[in-house]
């Protein structure tokens, strides 16, 4: 019988992808691709709530608009993609 390996996360040198929590990852994703900022009529930029940002993302990606960080949204965020922001302010 083989002995199970005790898994242990390691920080690999030069590895940019850090061991982030899903919430941290979502925060960074929403910001990077433009979902967290909104342009007001006055021309000033402002941040929107995570829930609003998530809804914008879910609309853009054709996902169910729950406004929550559900599994389909997390999966979509982890997919390889183009670096051009989805929302431009």
């Amino acid at each position: 019988w083989s002995k199970p390996i005790d898994s242990k996360d390691v920080s690999f040198p030069e590895d940019i992808l850090k061991n982030m929590t899903d919430i941290q990852m979502a925060d960074s994703y929403l910001e990077r691709f433009g979902y967290k900022m909104i342009l007001h009529k006055s021309g000033r930029q402002g941040a929107v709530s995570n829930s609003k940002a998530l809804k914008r993302l879910q609309t853009q990606l054709g996902l169910e608009e729950t406004g929550e960080l559900d599994q389909p949204t997390i999966d979509a965020m982890k997919k390889p993609r183009c670096g051009v922001p989805d929302v431009r302010n």
């Binding site: 390996i5 853009q60 997919k79 390889p80």
Partner: protein, 577 residues
């Protein structure tokens, strides 16, 4: 679909592009081809044409880079962000950047194009059998010079088809050494190197000197990745080392242990705990063609679409038989309008990379059992046309060429002539055998030497030279210095000073008519000079100072400055009613 604010677009339709550097993952011709096909996706549905520049500033500057690569948008290592591009405009606008920490392929795993050998540049076939053993990567078994090779069919022992795999011992790319192979050992800043190194660079690219001393000669090139090389990490380009120790346990294959993202990795020395050298194991990779087609959409003015099946959807998805989604077509045609002229043919599948390379062998030993280099040509079966047949109904001529100011159209032993002078009605059919006795009915190309007025005809692997009715030949095209594996010469362009370009497949060679030898340095890919014409043209000829590239019933006319200025029907040239 969505466009950028203000509907940013190019104010001209002849868009230029330049490839600034290459990725070590794929060979240069595969990358050139992927980009050319990606542009074709858009030129097929718009009036846009794309011309490649080799120096100066192009509208779309294409480059590979890693992490911080010169703009404010760094890449993020393997996976995650794959590429980005800027909307049309001056400076960095319009440019496309590709993350070279990705594993660039054609989307279906290692696409290892071979060099030399006897397989005409075919891809490796994994797994293959050699002396009873199965190989799923390139091997140096059977050789004493360390050159990795692979079979291009499933069984080398049976088929004897092979080629050499990319390695620094075969060639380098970019740099200043014209693709020369690495020389080991070499000296750099007084230190001796026996393998490619990233020393002296901060971008992580592996390089080598192509003479024994970089310090003295300053000659260098970048090392292509071997198929067994790891991607990213801190050992890009090095092979996995099995077994290796990780957290005091021994591993004999790639593992995802230690990672929360599940990606497979390996150590590149025997002990990770001690050396901390590692990289990701090769996977299917990302299709450079698909990613480039998406990025070029941005470079032309399209923003991300929210239609999941559209090319401009922001997430990557591999599609084997790609065709542009209606949403993308509507988007790009909103900016540039629809294509005028003949209807486009569907784009080729994204996996075609079979352009032949020059065959032969490096000056080193072949695998233990020397493969045969003999090639066979199966004669083509054809049905002769009825001489009463109207040439205006012929859908594909065998050859077209200008002889003494008149265009000649050849088909199955007959020919017709047309001229844009005097009575413009076409004449014929005439019997080829009456004017040029001894020629086969099926010709591939023909041309007149403008200096001597001698006629040259090519059919299959043979050619004939006519002075009036006096014939010399047939002789083998191999005598001219063309590769023995070449099945036919499909087109020809007279270049003055006794030179003629001969076209076959996606490549062309320059023939010196005086010495009757191909000039050194050839072949070149058609895109090298003739951007914007079909790379699968079955006839190429010179007429009235223009270059004509034909596919089926269509022609692409190119000026002497290499700009496509007209696409039309062959029937126009025949002066059909």
């Amino acid at each position: 679909y969505k466009t950028f604010d203000g509907d940013l677009k190019w104010d001209h339709n002849d868009v230029t592009y330049r490839i600034l550097n290459y990725s070590p993952d794929l060979d240069v011709s595969t990358i050139d081809d992927a980009f050319a096909r990606a542009f074709k996706v858009w030129s097929d549905v718009t009036p846009l044409t794309f011309r490649r520049l080799y120096d100066g500033t192009a509208d779309i500057m294409i480059s590979f880079g890693k992490k911080d690569h010169g703009d404010f948008y760094p890449f993020d290592g393997k996976d995650g962000l794959l590429a980005h591009a800027y909307p049309p405009g001056e400076g960095v606008q319009g440019d496309a950047h590709f993350d070279d920490d990705e594993y660039w392929t054609l989307g279906k795993g290692p696409a290892i194009k071979t060099y030399f050998g006897n397989a005409d540049g075919a891809l490796c076939n994994f797994p293959f059998r050699f002396e009873g053993k199965s190989y799923s990567s390139c091997t140096t078994e059977g050789r004493e010079d360390g050159l990795p090779w692979c079979a291009t069919t499933a069984d080398y022992d049976k088929d004897k088809k092979y080629g050499f795999c990319p390695s620094e011992l075969l060639y380098t790319f970019d740099g200043n050494a014209d693709g020369e192979a690495c020389v080991f050992p070499f000296e750099f800043e007084g230190k001796t190197y026996t393998s490619c190194t990233t020393d002296g660079r901060d971008d992580g690219y592996r390089w080598c000197a192509t003479t024994s001393s970089f310090d003295k000669d300053k000659k260098y090139g970048f090392c292509p990745n071997r198929d067994t090389a790891v991607i990213g990490g801190n050992s890009e380009g090095e092979p996995c080392q099995f077994p290796f120790i990780f957290l005091e346990k021994s591993y004999t294959s790639c593992t995802s242990e230690g990672r929360s993202d599940g990606k497979l990795w390996c150590a590149t020395t025997s002990n990770y705990d001690k050396d901390q050298k590692w990289g990701f194991c090769p996977d299917k990779g990302y299709s450079l063609f698909l990613v480039a087609a998406h990025e070029f959409g941005h470079a032309l003015g399209l923003d991300h679409s929210n239609i999941q099946d559209a090319l401009m959807y922001p997430m990557y998805k591999y599609i084997a038989d790609f065709s542009l989604h209606q949403d993308d077509i509507e988007g790009i045609q909103y900016l540039y309008g629809p294509k005028k002229g003949p209807k486009p043919t569907p784009p080729k599948p994204s996996t075609t990379t079979s352009s032949p390379v020059s065959t032969g062998k490096p000056n080193k030993k072949t695998p233990q059992t020397t493969p045969s280099t003999a090639s066979t040509t199966t004669p083509s079966v054809y049905t002769p046309v009825d001489p009463s047949v109207d040439p205006c109904t012929v859908d594909k001529f065998d050859a077209i060429t200008e002889i003494q100011g008149e265009l000649h159209f050849f088909k199955d032993g007959y020919y017709w002539t047309s001229s844009n002078r005097g009575n413009k009605e076409h004449k014929g059919p005439f019997m080829v055998s009456e004017r040029w006795p001894g020629l086969p009915a099926k010709l591939d190309t023909a041309f007149e030497d403008p200096l001597t007025k001698q006629m040259y005809f090519f059919a299959g692997t043979q050619f004939w030279e006519f002075t009036g009715k006096d014939v010399r030949g047939p002789r083998s095209i191999e005598k001219l210095g063309l590769p023995g594996s070449l099945k036919k010469v499909e087109g020809s362009l007279q270049r003055g000073k006794g030179k003629v370009l001969l076209f076959s497949g996606e490549n062309y060679w320059r023939l010196n008519l005086k010495t009757q030898k191909i000039d050194k340095g050839y072949p070149y890919h058609i895109d090298n000079k003739f951007g914007g014409v079909p790379v699968d043209a079955h006839d190429v000829f010179l007429y009235n100072g223009h270059y004509f590239f034909c596919r089926e019933i269509y022609y692409w006319r190119m000026t002497s400055k290499y700009q496509v200025d007209r696409v039309g029907y062959i029937y126009e040239l025949l002066n059909c009613p």
